[in-house]
Symmetry: C2
Subunit: 414 residues, 2 copies
C-alpha cells in the first residue's frame, strides 16, 4: 500500500475555559479505558442500575425513569421532546438564547404546533411572563432551557413546575449546560423531564445524555408504546395491530423502548455505549463523592472569582449578571480589539481555549467557562494571568495583576 496511516492520537495540551466541552476529569478518562463486557452481562446490568441510582441523586429526584440516552446532549433533548409530544400537539418554548431556538426547532421538526415567547439575549423571563403565555397557549408541554450558554443566562425554574401543573402542562428543562454547577431540583421544582450532557459541569466527554422522567412523563410515553417487529413478544405486547397509532416517529429516540431496555424487561434496543456509560458513571461518582451541593458551591465560587477577575481587568460583562450561570461569563470584546486574534493568541501561545458566541453575539463577546473539572482556582488564575498578557499585547490598557488579585480576593472572601 502506498497510503499511510496517521500516527496515534496525541492531542495538544489544552486548558478548556470556554462554554464547553471542557477538560474531562482524568478519572473519567481512566474509567473509559476499562474493558467492555457484554450488554446483558450481570456486571453490565448492575452498572446500568447503578447509573440510574447515581443520576437520581445528580438530578435530585426519585424518578425511577432516570437513565442515559446514547448520543450527545442534543440527542437527549430530541428524545425527550419527540417522546413527550405527538405531532399536532401544542408546545410552548420561552426563548432567551440560541438553545431555546433549538428546542423550538426540534419540536417543530417533530410536527408539534410550537408557540414561542422571546426575551432579549442577556435577560431571563419573570415567571409571570411565562405563566401568561401558558395560560394563553395551553400547551401540552413547556420546553425551556435552564442555562443557555449562548447568553450565559440561568432561567429561574423553581416556580415554573407549579405553573405548568396548574394548567395541565408537562415541564421539560434542558439542563445540559447547568446541571452540576447550579441549583437544580427535579422533584422540588416539579420538573417532568430533564436532560443533560457530560461535557459541561459533569467533567466528561460529550456523547452520553443523562435524562430523568417523572411518572407523569412516563405515562405519556407508555401510552405511545410500540415494540418493533423481530423482538415483539405476543404474550406481553399483544397484537401489533393494537399498538398505539400515536407511536413515536423515531425508533432511536422512542423512550418507551429505551425504558424497557433499562428496566427489568431488558428488551433489546440499541447496544449500550459501554465506554460512555462507564464515563457517565464516573462523572456522577465524582460529583457525589465531593457532594452535590459542594460541587455547585465550587462552581459558584470559581465563577464569582472569574467574574471579579475579568471586571478588574476592565472588561464589561454582558447581560444580567444577577441571573448568569455560575459556570460561564460573557465578556464584551473591547472596541477596536480583534476578538478572534485574542482567542487565537490565548490558544496558540498559552494553550487556553475561551469561546466565541452565536447569532447576535457573534464577534461581540467572549465566553469564559469555569466548569466541571476546570472550576478550580488554578484554572481561574492561570486564565486571568494569560488573558492579561494577551490583552496587553493587543493594546488594551490593563492594570498589571488586577485580574488575578481580584480573583484571589474573591476566593478568600468565599
Amino acid at each position: 500500500m502506498t497510503e499511510t496511516v496517521p500516527p496515534q492520537i496525541d492531542p495538544p495540551a489544552r486548558l478548556l475555559m470556554g462554554p464547553g466541552p471542557v477538560n474531562a476529569d482524568p478519572r473519567v478518562l481512566r474509567a473509559m479505558s476499562a474493558q467492555l463486557v457484554g450488554q446483558y452481562d450481570p456486571s453490565m446490568t448492575a452498572y446500568m442500575n447503578e447509573v440510574m441510582a447515581l443520576y437520581r441523586r445528580v438530578f435530585a429526584t426519585r424518578n425511577e425513569a432516570t437513565l442515559l440516552v446514547d448520543g450527545t446532549s442534543r440527542a437527549g433533548i430530541e428524545a425527550a421532546i419527540v417522546s413527550l409530544v405527538k405531532p399536532g400537539e401544542l408546545v410552548l418554548v420561552p426563548i432567551f438564547g440560541r438553545f431555546g431556538h433549538l428546542l423550538a426547532e426540534i419540536a417543530e421538526r417533530g410536527g408539534a404546533e410550537v408557540h414561542t415567547i422571546e426575551t432579549a439575549w442577556g435577560q431571563v423571563f419573570p415567571t409571570s411572563a411565562i405563566e401568561r403565555a401558558v395560560a394563553r397557549v395551553r400547551p401540552r408541554l413547556v420546553a425551556i432551557v435552564q442555562g443557555d450558554t449562548s447568553t450565559t443566562m440561568n432561567q429561574p425554574l423553581d416556580e415554573l413546575g407549579d405553573v405548568c401543573a396548574r394548567y395541565g402542562a408537562l415541564l421539560y428543562a434542558d439542563a445540559t449546560a447547568s446541571l452540576g454547577g447550579n441549583d437544580f431540583e427535579m422533584d422540588g421544582w416539579r420538573i417532568d423531564a430533564a436532560t443533560a450532557g457530560l461535557q459541561k459541569c459533569l467533567s466528561g466527554p460529550s456523547g452520553s445524555a443523562p435524562i430523568s422522567l417523572s411518572d407523569a412523563a412516563v405515562d405519556v410515553i407508555r401510552a405511545r408504546k410500540r415494540i418493533e417487529a423481530g423482538i415483539r413478544d405476543p404474550r406481553l405486547d399483544g397484537d401489533p395491530d393494537d399498538a398505539s397509532p400515536d407511536f413515536v416517529r423515531s425508533n432511536y429516540f422512542d423512550l418507551g423502548q429505551v425504558l424497557d431496555y433499562w428496566g427489568p424487561r431488558r428488551l433489546n434496543h440499541h447496544t449500550e455505549a459501554t465506554s460512555m456509560l462507564y464515563a457517565a458513571r464516573e462523572c456522577a461518582r465524582i460529583i457525589l463523592e465531593e457532594g452535590r451541593q459542594q460541587v455547585i458551591d465550587r462552581h459558584r465560587v470559581a465563577g464569582g472569582a472569574m467574574l471579579a477577575g475579568v471586571q478588574a481587568l476592565g472588561l464589561r460583562v454582558f447581560g444580567d449578571v444577577a441571573h448568569k450561570m455560575h459556570n460561564v461569563v460573557a465578556v464584551e470584546i473591547p472596541a477596536g480589539v480583534d476578538g478572534e486574534a485574542v482567542r487565537g493568541a490565548l490558544l496558540g501561545d498559552f494553550g487556553i481555549e475561551i469561546g466565541t458566541s452565536f447569532g447576535p453575539l457573534a464577534g461581540r463577546v467572549w465566553r469564559i467557562g469555569t466548569m466541571g473539572h476546570n472550576a478550580r482556582k488554578d484554572a481561574v488564575l492561570t486564565t486571568l494571568a494569560a488573558l492579561e498578557q494577551v490583552l496587553r499585547r493587543a493594546g488594551v490598557p490593563v492594570g498589571a495583576g488586577t485580574g488575578v488579585d481580584a480573583a484571589i480576593d474573591a476566593y478568600r472572601a468565599a
Copy 2:
C-alpha cells in the same frame, strides 16, 4: 450523607465471543483516554478530517461524505433512512432476520411507505428475487442489511447496486455487523449509503456510527436543507421561509446539518463526542495498519476454524453455511440441553460469553462470534476448549479435543 457512592469501575475479565459487542482492542481503549480538545480546535478539526479519510478506506469509497454519527449503530441507520426518505416515499426492505425488521420499522416510523419481502431465517435472497420486487414496487430506496447477526447470514450485495441504479432507486446497506470482517465494496458495488458501528469487526465500543454517502445520496439530503434558527446565516442560507418543506423530521439525524458540521463550513450542530471519535479513529487505524484485506482474511480464517471446531464437537450449524458471515456462527442447541445453563456456565466458570438469539431462533441456537480483536487463534481455541468442557458436564457426548483439533487443522490449512 448517609448514602454511599459505588466503587470505581472494575468489570470482570470476559472473553466476548458472542455476536457483539466484543472486547475492544486495548489500543482503542488507550486512545479514548486521551484528553479532550475544543470542538473547533485546529487539532480537533484535523482529527475529524483524518477520520473521514480513514473511513473512506474502511468503506472502500471515494465519497467525500464519510463521517461519524454520534450514537450507536442504530443511530447511524436511522440517520441514513430518515435523511434519504421523505414521508410517503416508497422504501423496499428485503428481510432475512431481525435487523431487516428494524430497517422496516425505522422507515415506517419515519412515515415512508414500506414494502417488504421476506425469506426464511437462515437464508439469503438471490439478487433476482430482490430485482423482481424492485421492479414491482419501484422504491425510492432499497434498504437492506448486509450481515444480519440474528441469523448470521451475509446477503450478497455485489450486483444489487446495478439493479437499483437501473430502476432509479438508491441503495442503503446496513453493514453494522459485517464491515471489516467481510467483503464490502461501497463504490465497487454502487452502494449509495452505508452505516456501521464500532462494536463488531472494528474492535471498538458501541457509541459511534461510521457512515458514508454517495454524491447521489448527498444530493437528496441537500435538497431537504433546513438550518436551525439561532445559527442561520441569511447571507448563506437565504430566507427561512424559502427552506425546503421536505426537511428531515429529526434535527439530530438531519445529515444535511451533520455534513455542514464535518464540512468546511463547520456549522455548529451537536458537540462532537470527542472520546468516541478518538475510538473510531483508532479502530480504523488498526484495520488499515494490518491491511483491510488482511483483516477480512483473518476473520475468514478465524470463522472457518470456529465453524470446523463446533462441527467437530458434533454440533449442528444453523442456516445456509455457504452464505454466513465470516465473523459469527449459529449453533443449534442439542436436544435436551438447557441453552441458557450452558451459556451461564461458560460465562460463570470460564469468563467466556456466547450469544443467544431473537424471535424464531430464541432458545434454538447459540451464536458464537469471532470478530474484531477477538478474531484470533487463541480466542477461537480457548472458546472451543471451554465449550467442550461445558457440553461434557451438561451430558452432551463430545469427543475429547475434537473441536480444538479441527480448529488447529483449519488454521494450518488456511
